[in-house]
Symmetry: C2
Subunit: 543 residues, 2 copies
Amino acid sequence: MQSTMMDVPLSLNHLLERAGQLFAQNEIVSRLPDKSLRRHSFGAFYRRTRALASALRKLGLEKGDRVATLCWNHHAHLECYFGIPAAGGVMHTLNLRLSPDEIGWIAGDASDRFLVVDDVLLPLYRQFAHLHAFEKVIVFPFSGAAVPREFANYEALLDAADADAFEYAPHDENDPVAMCYTSGTTGRPKGVVYSHRSTVLHTLVASLGDFWGLRGTDVVLPVTPMFHANCWGMPYGAVMMGVKLVFPGPHLHPDDLLDLITQEPPTLALGVPTIWMGLIQTYDAAQGEASPNRGRWKLPHGMKSLVGGAAVPESLIRAFNKHGIWILQGWGMTETSPVCTISYPRAELRGADADERYRRAAMAGVPVPLVDLRVRGDDGTSQPWDGKSVGEIQVRGPFITGSYHEVPVAPDKFTADGWLRTGDVASVDSLGFVRITDRTKDLIKSGGEWISSVDLENAIMAHPAVAEAAVIAIPDEKWSERPLACVVLRPGREASPAELNAHLLKSGFAKWQAPERYEFIDAVPRTSTGKFWKVKLRERFPR
Amino acid sequence: MQSTMMDVPLSLNHLLERAGQLFAQNEIVSRLPDKSLRRHSFGAFYRRTRALASALRKLGLEKGDRVATLCWNHHAHLECYFGIPAAGGVMHTLNLRLSPDEIGWIAGDASDRFLVVDDVLLPLYRQFAHLHAFEKVIVFPFSGAAVPREFANYEALLDAADADAFEYAPHDENDPVAMCYTSGTTGRPKGVVYSHRSTVLHTLVASLGDFWGLRGTDVVLPVTPMFHANCWGMPYGAVMMGVKLVFPGPHLHPDDLLDLITQEPPTLALGVPTIWMGLIQTYDAAQGEASPNRGRWKLPHGMKSLVGGAAVPESLIRAFNKHGIWILQGWGMTETSPVCTISYPRAELRGADADERYRRAAMAGVPVPLVDLRVRGDDGTSQPWDGKSVGEIQVRGPFITGSYHEVPVAPDKFTADGWLRTGDVASVDSLGFVRITDRTKDLIKSGGEWISSVDLENAIMAHPAVAEAAVIAIPDEKWSERPLACVVLRPGREASPAELNAHLLKSGFAKWQAPERYEFIDAVPRTSTGKFWKVKLRERFPR
Ligand SMILES: Nc1ncnc2c1ncn2[C@@H]1O[C@H](COP(=O)(O)OP(=O)(O)OP(=O)(O)O)[C@@H](O)[C@H]1O
Ligand SMILES: Nc1ncnc2c1ncn2[C@@H]1O[C@H](COP(=O)(O)OP(=O)(O)OP(=O)(O)O)[C@@H](O)[C@H]1O
Ligand SMILES: [Mg+2]
Ligand SMILES: [Mg+2]
């Protein structure tokens, strides 16, 4: 027997059309380089996006061609999210925080044909222009300054295009729409290519009530860069549900974000832990009697904040909750679109006390629908979901990558039965809560036992004198490896290794797990997406 | 360029596995024939469902075979929703409110191989058993009575099965999982066959925040029969999000439902307008000083109620809202899985007054994601979304049927470019709100102008003396057709045709639109799914 259902492909074009029809009045706010706010309606977004698609086609864009973006978070970047695929192209977001050499290499690896770049980022572009020859460079006049003659002007292209006459190219749902490279925390970035199908499915799943819980009355502030795993997919969800969007542009300093939050209060914000850490410290400091910023900012009570990309310390969650803001932690990867697990208040925890709820919130959360997740031990068998047994997380699903762009599928990245090897080490408890204990590359093997660097870091960071801590393995003749803790102290505070180890023992660590060696450093080196960059620490402290 | 995403099919089996892993502790409550409540955990549901699948396979079920159900809403019916597809079968829900002849015809048309039937429904089964020979009849001992010897016992089959050893059959996402027949309001019921793909997509879309807004902390009461368009798809959503389910079993009398709601307060309930009309009348009557039921019931403040399947009168929405319950109206068809449009409080209406908000709530709502909707005039061109121009609604999307089971595709059901002709007449306004004015077959053409029977009915029902009103066309020599209003008066109330017409003129109708003829009847005949059965009225009042 056959199903009688229609064969209609999943398509981003459908979401764009829908937004144009239903949400024309809704607002998109962008912060410009001069810090003023620019307001667009979804109606304008719809017309401009179709104009962009039409213009790209006139420029000779062919199906599957890559169009790179080098942009901050703003309305024109959102237009690229939908306009490039509408024309049949593949949007490739370049990470403006990488070194010019890396950006150039990535543009070449992706064979990017066109580039859309913010005028304020032209100095960066010029540093890697010699590494990859784009056929056409389209400058978005974000600052309003005149666009240099040698480039195409984004606004002029849109003005000249006929949006009304534009017709979407027919496509298969497996056709590509976007491309993104991993952060390069553990090695050279690798390219992942998303399809209409994977993007629509991820959008539907992540938008569900317990996760993003998107509703048309929401106001969403994406601090996560739009070049970081497609801004976690939020732009697609926002357009699907017709929420109001508030884009911070290039202004990500805590003061700037707090100004923006005060002016355009969000109901939902998203970003990596570093951002929120800086923000809450600045906010709390401003409450002091003597602070010059006293009374300047207001955090919106009831706001939700999606935080992920790196472990979210429990202390951060508690600090925000004091102000009525609940942090939802997510775990995912560029490879996974990215949402794989989210920690949300489960019905089963209704009766739990506050400590228990914070403990869960500090975990990576439970797998979302359409994601199959298993944890494999060293011997290749699945670990029980007992909250103790650890192993490598492996995932499978329709929005998870099955290969990397132009990289042969290798057994260290994919299992023989087709699951993605995430390189993240975790345990899962009986309610399905995943707790990430490490990256496989960061695990410390001491005297035949594994020590979790993440557990040590979290415990050390809970000490009042510590601002940040990163733990790495150093070679040891007797134990094979031993932990070394790199610690950043809070301004004006002190703590000795002995004191920190006493604190660790009190927190439940065994003596052999505590690092006997500490290095006090000025700052933990971070990757372009705000993660601890342990590769750099290992270079600095090879033994 | 190719997407790098995995090729993983959408599957109900994934949702089942997920529920077993994450939600084992959650509860499913079923009301038994003796009115007692039976509690199951999702863990038990998971094991029993796999046991059912294993048992069906042992009985010789082969891929694509139809397994019919003739059951009330309860946990075992939910097991069929997932267990039959898990075994590779197609669940075919038989409508127990149809006549035995119709049920027998439908079972034959679907070539049902097995039947799962509630013991309390065996008398009904025996009335149509001669019309279709099921290979195996499996009786669910819902009442607890002994199962007659000639039938298989559902519980015994499950007990004998090895759930742990069960392995899902590999499948394509387009393979069928369920089948349902239309209500037969306008003619013989027609069969629609859903796939894994269509069901998962519909579940994701309908569960989104502005629509069902399902969260794990929800308690859902499905009053909508599980044989009516798959209970609007709610069982799939409930299992996906791990909500608590409360099934009313065979007890749908207002007193019974109010008892159940008081005992197990839902956060979300669903059913057709008739059910809620009876319920609110009973509840409001119980508030009277002299009522024997005073204090017996409590409506849960903040509950949402999904109502659809027929027009929802504004008066009903207002009546519930008085008690803090918000009604979300949906429009859809068996052919559309069924959710197509939902009326939810849009951000754009934030500033609107209460009247405006009620007016919108009484509309069918806006199209949900993945549904393309257009309104075609008599001349076949698309009507503008101006809130005035009417035409036939046509829809297209991955969970909308492209044909009927064993019926050749005909131009009165599907357009040449592959859209479903719904047979519903509507206008759409600039915000995308659909307002159903009629079925094509119920439109009244008077003097070359169309009169909406639904508009007349709603206006007449707003008169305080009127309980219900259904308007049909009668032939007229001069005007070709004229409206005839069939009116049910509230107990002890009176209203003359002249008075009702005066009321219509005050409500904004033109004189030529008002019916000069009224028939006062005892009850409006209803279809098996609670819709006005105008075919019957036309038989009774041919002129
Ligand atoms: N909530 C979280 N808790 C802990 N780690 C997280 C969390 N969310 C994400 N991560 C880490 O981020 C990784 C995914 O990051 P991303 O795709 O940006 O690139 P990367 O893994 O940092 O870089 P590369 O793969 O190039 O080395 C995950 O594999 C995980 O290690
Ligand atoms: N909110 C609503 N307002 C008005 N009408 C509705 C609403 N929801 C559903 N309907 C009506 O119900 C129809 C779908 O019902 P269903 O699929 O149960 O079978 P039917 O159309 O009544 O029967 P048949 O197709 O066999 O004649 C829609 O086409 C529409 O006419
Ligand atoms: Mg990685
Ligand atoms: Mg119909």
